[in-house]
């Protein structure tokens, strides 16, 4: 694909920061520009992008990132967190009424995939939720739309309620619910005709169906390839009908699917399902966090962050936190921290999870970093017990001795001492954060990445 993922886009800035050692406001600005472009290329509506970038910028120029030793990763993390906030973290389930049948209305533009999704949802409800759905063919306008649903019903051996195309959709919907009651079907899925949100007559018709059947769920079906117009469509359907959720279709294509963010941002209604193929089984529960990384082209960057968060032993982290609070972090703790990083697996394997990392210069650096860990270890092991617990006493002659003992240079020792101080600062941040809502935040800031 022509699309560049966010990780690739940010690499240039990362490299600059790395060689300079500090992050400037200009760097953050540059990164924000890349974030903006990545989102726009992914079809996120420009207004939504604007607000999003402003939110991220605010956080990114804050302490958390600027003071971090790995500002690049921190920016990705902030972007991802904000994006996940926007998309919603929770998976959202389909409504179930206390009074059977549960009534679901499928609505949307022409060609979005309502009819196919209706059949997929029926199959999903039967297979995963053990339900007995009735599908209702209320698209009386598009040629052979009823036939399409009937064919799908036959394939699935599931009932389809239809009255032909000479009856009003309101009537069809009403009667289908009665039919479901009679036959003890516990869901009714009403397939409606595709229509433009501008079409007053047809939008009124949907409102009339809604009033007649009082649906538990109104699902707006949106094509994942939709461009900037997604906001107008979603806003308009939501205003006129009060949708309860969204189904995103055609996600098996190679679109980034930024429409997902746009739709969520303007309606604040959850995306409940994702269509991922033409087969009737190709319907999945929607995972907002996966969508976030798809849109940004971040690949497994997030799993990388996750992995880091998981491997850090919580007990040890607590102990470390205690030590931080009492300000007695030592080089022994530092060694322990190193071991935890190693516990995540080889660094280059971790880096391979970053899309395109194979082609990046960054990977070479990562291998250097691995040997750097060894060097750091050697330096620490050359310290006396007292030096490890009281680094302040390490003067010039002690430095010379340590360098000699570890086969490194005085500069290496100096750098490590500096990093140790920085790490203390980082730990302070981490401890204050982990007292907050999220655990393990900030754990990506290892002094050698």
């Amino acid at each position: 694909m022509a699309f560049e993922g966010l990780a690739e886009r940010l690499q240039g800035t990362f490299d600059k920061i790395k060689s300079r050692g500090v992050v400037t406001e200009a760097d953050v600005k540059e990164m924000m520009r890349e974030v903006r472009l990545a989102l726009l290329e992914a079809d996120v509506n420009f207004k939504v992008v604007k607000k999003f970038v402003n939110d991220v910028k605010e956080r990114a120029t804050g302490q958390e990132v600027m003071k971090s030793l790995t500002p690049g990763q921190q920016v990705i993390k902030v972007v991802n967190e904000e994006l996940t906030n926007l998309m919603g973290k929770e998976q959202s389930k389909i409504a179930v009424s206390s009074k059977s049948p549960t009534v679901v209305m499928m609505v949307g533009l022409q060609g979005a995939g309502k009819t196919t999704t209706t059949a997929k949802l029926a199959q999903f409800l039967r297979k995963k939720n053990n339900r007995k759905p009735l599908m209702a063919a209320a698209d009386v306008y598009r040629p052979a739309a009823i036939k399409q649903l009937e064919t799908l019903g036959t394939e699935l051996s599931m009932p389809v309620f239809s009255m032909g195309d000479q009856v009003s959709p309101v009537e069809i919907a009403t009667r289908s619910v009665e039919q479901a009651k009679e036959d003890h079907q516990d869901y009714v899925l009403i397939d409606t005709a595709g229509r433009l949100h501008l079409d007053e007559t047809l939008m009124d018709e949907l409102v009339n169906i809604k009033e007649a059947v009082n649906p538990d769920e109104i699902l707006l079906v949106v094509d994942a390839m939709t461009g900037q117009d997604a906001v107008n469509v979603a806003e308009s359907f939501n205003e006129q009908l009060g949708i309860t959720g969204v189904v995103l279709t055609k996600l098996d294509g190679d679109t980034r699917g930024g429409a997902a963010i746009s739709v969520k941002a303007v309606t604040d209604k959850p995306i409940k399902f994702a269509g991922t193929g033409e087969k009737i089984d190709a319907l999945e529960v929607f995972h907002p966090e996966r969508m976030a990384s798809r849109i940004l082209g971040m690949g497994d960057v997030l799993s990388l962050i996750e992995k880091a968060e998981f491997s850090v032993d919580e007990e040890k982290a607590k102990e470390m936190e205690r030590k931080m609070r009492t300000a007695d972090l030592t080089f022994d703790d530092f060694l322990e921290q190193l071991e935890q990083v190693r516990g995540m697996g080889p660094l280059d394997e971790l880096l391979n999870m970053i899309p395109g990392a194979g082609k990046m210069k960054g990977l070479k650096n990562a291998q250097v970093d691995e040997s750097q860990i060894g060097r750091v270890e050697a330096i620490v092991r050359s310290m006396t017990k007292k030096e490890k617990s009281e680094p302040a006493i390490i003067n010039a002659s002690r430095k010379r001795r340590i360098a000699k003992g570890s086969g490194t240079t005085i500069q290496d020792v100096n750098r490590l001492l500096k990093q140790f101080e920085d790490m203390k600062k980082m730990m302070k941040q981490m401890s204050s954060m982990s007292k907050g809502k999220k655990k393990g935040k900030g754990n990506m800031s290892f002094p050698f990445m």
């Binding site: 390839m225 461009g227 679109t255």
Partner: protein
């Protein structure tokens, strides 16, 4: 005569029916686009960074495509610098000029390739739900109006109800539909259809295909085969391979155009659903990045809701107020 003068002339010389239909269809597009343009000029008096960012957003908001927009804005920044333009209103004509230049890259050929004698075959391709079958109905109608004998080939043997859908269009328009059973080989349907069209002395054969996402390799191979079978029967057929694009689609439309071009060497584009609020700016990106002309536009669901694409008219529609101001 300037580009816009030419345009104005052309526009006012058009028969009223055509233009008013076009104007109606595009009014949403135009109001929105120029509305934002004017807002822009009212809001930003001086040409600066904020101004260009806003301009970027207007164009991106119209689905023009990030690459095209960035290129254009860069050119404008350059122009503003060398011409020392600081007043946004002075930059307005430069903007129109640049956009026009992008569209006027070459004389556009929106004429459909219809053979003088013998059978003309058109193949319609595209992703799911863009409007292929509906467009075939509309195109069949307009050829029939011209007195041609038209036939349809039900090449979508995959999607439930697709054959029946085409049959309804056949009845509506009053043309024959050649079909096989659902699930049969689409290439075989085409072969059959060509034989029937020949023996019934049809002028035009319009071939429907199943919608397919461009990243599905096996489905794209199937399409290639369909096309090959047609070419084997009639050496220079299909005479048009029309890619149907939904104007609501964002950046992915470019990827669609690229891949379908690779596989079937599309000869033109049909841009549908311009009766909605989607701005259709993707046309600019497609014109700019690919050498495929847009030939037709879809403006609704009825048989008559089809127009030839006119690039100048299209730009004029977008910038009408600006031009006249």
């Amino acid at each position: 005569m300037s580009f816009f003068d030419k345009l104005k002339n052309k526009f006012s010389n058009q028969s009223d029916g055509v233009t008013s239909k076009f104007k109606d269809g595009l009014s949403k597009t135009r109001d929105n686009f120029t509305g934002r343009m004017n807002e822009l000029f009212a809001q930003y008096r001086t040409v600066d960074e904020d101004f260009f960012e806003e301009l970027e957003e207007i164009l991106i908001g119209a689905d023009v495509g990030v690459t095209t927009v960035m290129e254009l804005v860069e050119e404008l920044e350059h122009e503003a610098r060398i011409q020392n333009i600081t007043d946004t209103r002075k930059l307005a004509p430069v903007i129109s000029e640049k956009l026009a230049a992008k569209l006027e890259k070459r004389e556009d050929d929106t004429r459909l390739n219809v053979q003088k004698d013998g059978l003309t075959v058109f193949l319609f391709v595209g992703v799911n739900g863009v409007g292929k079958t509906t467009t075939i109905g509309k195109v069949a109608h307009s050829f029939k109006q011209e007195g041609k004998k038209v036939m349809l080939a039900a090449g979508d043997t995959f999607r439930a109800g697709a054959i029946e859908q085409l049959e309804v269009w056949g009845e509506r328009v009053g043309v024959d539909v050649i079909k096989q059973q659902a699930g049969s080989d689409p290439a075989a349907v085409m072969y059959d259809a060509i034989q029937s069209a020949r023996s019934r002395k049809a002028d035009i054969l319009l071939c429907d295909t199943a919608g397919r996402l461009q990243n599905k390799v096996n489905l794209m191979n199937e399409l290639e085969k369909v096309k090959r079978v047609i070419s084997k029967e009639i050496p220079d057929a299909p005479h048009e391979v029309l890619l149907v694009l939904d104007a609501t689609t964002g950046q992915n439309a470019l990827s669609q155009a690229k891949t379908f071009k690779q596989v079937t060497n599309i000869s033109g584009i049909v841009l549908t659903k311009l009766d909605g609020t989607a701005k259709g700016g993707i046309v600019l990106a497609i014109r700019n990045e690919l050498d495929v002309p847009v030939k037709l536009i879809g403006l609704g669901e009825k048989v008559e809701d089809l127009q030839p694409f006119d690039a100048e008219q299209f730009v004029y529609g977008l910038f009408k107020e600006l031009v006249e101001a």
